[in-house]
Amino acid sequence: MKTSLAIRLAPWIATVALFVFWEAVCRIFKIPPFFLPPPSLVAKSFVEFWPAIYRNSLFTLSTTLIGFGMAVGFGLALGLAVGWSRAIYAGIYPLMIGFNAIPKVAVVPILVLWFGIGFIPAVLTAFLISFFPIVVNVATGLATIEPELEDVLKALGASKLDIMRKVGIPRALPYFFGSLKIAITLAFVGSVISESVASNTGIGNLMLQAQAQFQVPLIFAGLIALAVEGIAMYALMAMLEARMTGWAQRSGFAQT
């Protein structure tokens, strides 16, 4: 009982400790606020600029989630296709790796050329940066079906689709839900990149403007807003994972 309480409190204690440490360092070494503002100043600016932070956070959250949603759909479909056929795998994989190696910030100008600045490039950058881990994970889940099990089913006359439906897809689900945690954080990175390069709204743009006006505490407030959104979305994905694929976690689950 005592340990479980300690574990539950641990993240809060660590977070508070980090901020206390940060504040202390700023005060003790008398670091100028335009270099590294202490958390107290960041908090003040958070309150002061709350309407702007709120509005831009919502914008960033929406572009991130839409891009992420597209990545889930596309990544799932492509992952299934890649896992389905060795030919598709052989054909597409090098392309995907090459594509993934391209820094997405380099793609934003092209997106702007095509779609103008603002909402659409942010959504697309979030999508482009986050679909890759989903594809790889789904394909891995499908590729690791036990060959013996495949034999058992094939000997019964199971088609490839049967094996996919009965074994492959359920088996790939933990990989899929696991990849969502990675993908959602990457999606934030994508939308913020695009906002800082080519947008008039969003947290990325807010931070860029704050930088131009030398409002350093506001930059940090933007960072913290992003971090909070990121943690919230990650937690949501982790919850979803635990709910959907509890069998893969095996912690005293389901004694029925």
Binding site: E148, D151, V152, A155, L156, D162, K166, W247
Partner: protein, 260 residues
């Protein structure tokens, strides 16, 4: 009369022409209802034999016949069990048993509407291997021996005419293994089923089988065939008789010679 499972002068190559020769000139005949065991040194192509006899692979040379017709596609009348139980962790034990029924005709088309009937059948089968009332548990909540029993049940649920076992007891401790010998012995006695057991445990082969084939090292072929004339039903005590030991001894001599 042709045998139920008949491999005639079969050669099989992996990796296309010029690849590794897995079996060469292999001939095996198993009669209907017979319990056959195939023993041999490791890597002698025993698993290839499994795949050939179930229609998962087709021979490079020679013919494979099962139930009187040449095998050109997966045979569909076979159940298989391996050393690893390969149960699906997201399904309960009972749902794991129902899996083959969701694949194989005519059950495939009926299972949705007649689920209760199939569940009853699965539960009866579980009870017959000493797993009564365990159907609701997930495989990972069962012991290794219980998982292997479940795997055997899954191989039997669609009432196959042919049961192919690839070292199914290899990963179990000695006592559990002997328990499962008795389980499979009783299943064989209760149903008119043909069983081919691939194993490297000679005592296991002699205790269970009517007929034992000894395979050579790769490329595998049959170097000896031995009928086991110990009367059935066999009790575990049989394994301590001189007659039993003599057969094990004889087989062992063949294996020693067969090793590379």
């Amino acid at each position: 009369m042709t045998a139920f499972v008949a491999l005639d002068d079969v050669s099989h190559v992996y990796g296309g022409a010029g690849g590794t020769l897995a079996v060469d000139g292999l001939s095996i005949h198993v009669n209907r209802g017979e319990f056959a065991a195939v023993v041999g040194p490791s890597g002698c192509g025993k698993s290839t034999l499994m795949k050939l006899a179930t229609g998962l692979q087709f021979p490079f040379k020679g013919t494979v016949q099962v139930a009187g017709s040449v095998v050109r596609q997966p045979v569909k009348i076979a159940g298989m069990a391996f050393q690893a139980p390969t149960l699906l962790p997201w399904r309960t034990t009972l749902e794991n048993l129902l899996l083959p029924l969701e694949i194989v005709e005519p059950h495939r088309g009926r299972i949705r509407r007649h689920r209760a009937e199939y569940v009853a059948r699965a539960e009866a089968l579980l009870a017959s291997v000493g797993l009564a009332g365990q159907g609701g548990k997930f495989p990972w909540q069962l012991s290794g021996g219980m998982q292997q029993r479940t795997s055997l049940c899954r191989a039997l649920i669609h009432e196959p005419d042919l049961l192919m076992l690839d070292e199914p007891f290899g990963a179990l401790d000695a006592f559990t293994r002997e328990e499962l010998w008795c389980v499979i012995r009783d299943l064989h006695a209760a149903r008119n089923i043909t069983i081919v057991l691939v194993t490297h445990d000679l005592r296991e082969a002699v205790f269970l089988a009517d007929r034992i084939f000894v395979m050579s090292a790769r490329p595998g072929r049959i170097v000896a065939e031995r009928e086991v004339d110990i009367p059935r039903p066999r009790d575990l005590e049989v394994t301590f008789t001189p007659q039993f030991s003599a057969i094990v001894h004889e087989l062992r001599a063949h294996i020693v010679k067969a090793r590379p």
